[in-house]
Symmetry: C2
Subunit: 508 residues, 2 copies
């Protein structure tokens, strides 16, 4: 039960394993298939689906903008005297049949394309944190455009963070249009992975699209491979449309931009306290979004964004790191599969203010349950603290290790004739050395089946003492600084200069 | 998406929720049913089962003691010229039919009884750490009998740690019999939960049973409700019996003591590197144990203890916190269910030397995968660091929070007509306040459906700053000290005095 060591060849093996692996033989990668974990039975899924349809038919949603009312009533939605838009079952079913499936969220670099299909899992950032955690002083300060850009640059360097959605609000920018433009540019200049942004003011869509077309080269190039999607908080739960966001969403759709249909209720506050009923409400709201999108533009790429959050019911405050949150997210992932729609939800959030042990178990438990449930897009998967109020760049770096472990779990157990053949046991037990160290099979699997942490420490207490007891957070700070020191700007210098000439850019 | 707060009644709700709940309405408890997570398909399970039977028939196990050879050959095992004992399929199947199912591991207090049945999940300590982590100085020191007793006393106070198996070696005791006696007494004097101990010297069984009978009152009382089980490392993987441990196991069985059939190979070292084949070997070894136990005493209570560990293949050192470990454990849990046997395996171990973020994600991910897989006995679930070499009392305390979250995940999503009725949504959306705060349904679920951390911090950054930025580990140290200051000795004073008069007891 203790550790078994060999000194011969160890340094060589460590060096070998530390060299970068080709993507096709890496033990983990974006888009591994989950689904081994099912918190809901088939009957449970049908029950939730039925209740969501009932809610759409009987309760409906209020406060659709006039344009939305026109789009949805033309398709078959019914506007009541109470101003609520109600959705007959047949309408929902018809629109579900039209909805885009197996969509690709493009990276600027095609190697970062995300295929949202089946139970394929991808992890990334998201959120609207207003603080950054400063680990040197253990304090919170307001987040800036530079922080957002740094988070994008760090994400670019991390294998297990597959997309970069805006995670912080740049609070050094007071003008809202400048904020939206800088959010886009800080992200795109930092990484060629898929970008998620979030604007909700309809008047900002055109100027933001102008910048995006410049970054793409031209409009046609962007439309061919839209590398930025917009997160649309198109509802204000419970069961109300968000007028401005809906209009912005209409503009995005017409501009060829994939949308995240985001329903972010909070169980016990803006969503029902029972986990099952919170899922019902989120599903109902996103189904209304499916009707909206497909009535406007059949088959337009949209992510079914059931993001129910959880309240600590004692205080009403959000708790993103709880198992109730993990269950909500995993249950939603099963509903996405039921509809066979590309889906997303939140996991990985910590309620802790710092990257401490609490942050570890919260981000670990919620991310692994999301991954094993086969969620296509796991948002907020790294860096998020204080129940979404704070972002920590070092936690983002550490999140790469967490997500590596999670992806290894998602990859699962390889059961084949080869991996269960007892010939390897025979040669060791009957004729061989009585152990598997250094056997051909062991060496062959060393790089392709096992994943090793970058910052996680596996030294023995003796080695650790001899190495002067390295501390995890010191290592995280050092890696963050190293990544930022080496990061390349991801925009051509001439274009960057032109952008900086034409816009007020708040970061270096 | 930010937090939603109400000040009215908040203090009252926090106070209400902080009062202890009756066991039957607590959101989590021992023995919740998992199984929602299945890393293996049905075909995978059959494949592993078939390979294990092949291994038993073709490879068999070497080095059985003469008594074991007699017991097992009488039942139908075949001793080869090479000294290996081989097991025909029919023998394994016959013994599986005789094996004890739905066993109870008793607590001294019946409220701590553990029913090992179906996918019921229980978490507890285990291991043979030789160090204690001293959090005041961030150093490792040798573990003592007092540390073991303190761990037992802390476990007694923690709702979500359901049994206490010996987690540390008392290194202040040089005499091996005194070590075994003190291990038992330190545990029993600390908690009335089920105790796991581990002696492997056959000559120690009688004197240990003498002490145990005194603690029980008499032998008949112990045999009626055996509150101590023995962890028998009856094999030395790969595919070898451990002679001394086997003889000790025979004595334990005759003494009416439940046994843990522990196969602790290490994938890539003493077990094959492919996860599936490591499971095959562990299953084969434990099936040999099932033959052994049931040939000696049909239906004797035994836990199917497939505990394959994992090597970091670069170094050969153990990695208990890896996802490869979590997959091994979860895969084993599925094999336990296939045989419908009470089963146990390891999860919750951290490779980190300290209770830091790495420790959090490692213990969180491995424990939640074990729990969701429906593992009956999750050993090493709290307190274990440095890949089993160090135990940390503060991590044990923090583990109670981790396991609370894990148990909440195991409990799952309650989908009933009531929990999915849209009436609650109607009353809020159509007639009501437009939110669910303070609704009857919300308040009713506050205590029974949601679990709250004891040490985990859910304050906003503002509250946290105003509270002088409390640090998790400071809180853990304080709670540990508080528990130890208040802990009652769990042995009647007269008996304690008599035991201390007759034995050399190393702790207070």
């Amino acid at each position: 039960m203790g550790s078994i060591r060999r000194t011969g060849g160890r340094a060589a093996r460590v060096a070998l394993r530390s060299a970068p692996l080709a993507d096709n033989v890496r033990p983990v990668r974006a888009g591994l298939s989950g689904g081994q974990y099912k918190p809901l039975s088939d009957a449970d899924v049908l029950c939730i689906h039925g209740a969501a349809l009932d809610a759409l038919e009987q309760i409906g949603l209020s406060q659709a903008p006039p344009s939305g009312i026109e789009i949805m009533t033309r398709a078959g939605a019914v506007l009541g005297d109470d101003g609520r838009l109600r959705f007959p079952r047949a309408l929902v079913e018809d629109m579900l049949a039209l909805a885009a499936r197996n969509i690709t969220l493009h990276g600027r670099d095609p190697k970062h394309d995300l295929l949202l299909s089946g139970t394929r899992v991808h992890f990334g950032t998201a959120g609207a944190a207003v603080h950054v955690v400063d680990l040197e002083t253990n304090t919170y300060r307001e987040s800036t455009a530079q922080d957002l850009h740094d988070a994008a640059r760090i994400t670019h360097a991390l294998d297990n963070v597959h997309f970069f959605q805006r995670a912080m609000v740049a609070r050094d920018i007071t003008d809202n249009l400048e904020l939206d433009l800088n959010t886009i540019y800080a992200s795109v200049a930092g990484t060629t992975k898929h970008i998620g942004t979030s604007f909700s003011d309809p008047s900002h869509v055109a100027p933001c699209m102008d910048m995006i077309h410049r970054l793409a080269g031209d409009e046609a190039t962007y439309r061919a491979r839209p590398f930025i999607s917009n997160s649309n908080c198109f509802v204000v739960p419970p069961m109300k449309f968000a007028e401005e966001s809906c209009i912005a969403m209409e503009h995005c759709i017409r501009a060829g931009m994939p949308v995240l249909l985001l329903s972010a209720g909070q169980a016990g506050a803006t969503a029902p306290a029972p986990i099952a009923l919170a899922i019902v409400q989120a599903v109902a709201e996103c189904l209304a979004g499916v009707v909206y999108v497909n009535a406007l533009a059949p088959g337009h790429p949209a992510v079914f964004g059931t993001w129910p959050f959880v309240s600590d019911l004692r205080t009403g405050a959000m708790s993103g790191g709880s198992s109730e949150q993990a269950l909500l997210t995993a249950g939603c992932a099963q509903m996405h599969r039921f509809y066979d729609l590309p889906g997303g939800a939140a996991a990985g959030i910590s309620d802790s203010k710092l990257p401490d042990m609490q942050a570890g178990w919260e981000t670990g438990i919620t991310n692994v349950m999301a991954g094993l449930s086969g969620l296509n897009m796991v948002y907020e998967a790294a860096g998020m603290h204080a129940s979404l109020l704070g972002f920590c760049l070092e936690s983002l770096v550490l999140g790469d290790d967490v997500l590596g472990q999670v992806l290894r779990a998602v990859r699962g157990i390889d059961v084949t004739a080869d991996s269960t053949s007892i010939e390897a046991m025979k040669s060791v037990c009957l004729d061989g050395p009585g152990h598997y160290l250094g056997s051909d099979q062991t060496l062959k699997l060393m790089q392709t089946e096992y994943i090793y942490p970058t910052l996680g420490n596996r030294m023995s207490p003796k080695e650790w003492g001899e190495a002067d007891r390295p501390m995890l957070l010191d290592k995280a700070i050092a890696r963050k600084n190293d990544i930022l020191a080496k990061a390349n700007h991801q925009i051509d210098p001439a274009l960057d200069a032109a952008i900086r000439a034409d816009y007020n850019i708040y970061f270096n």
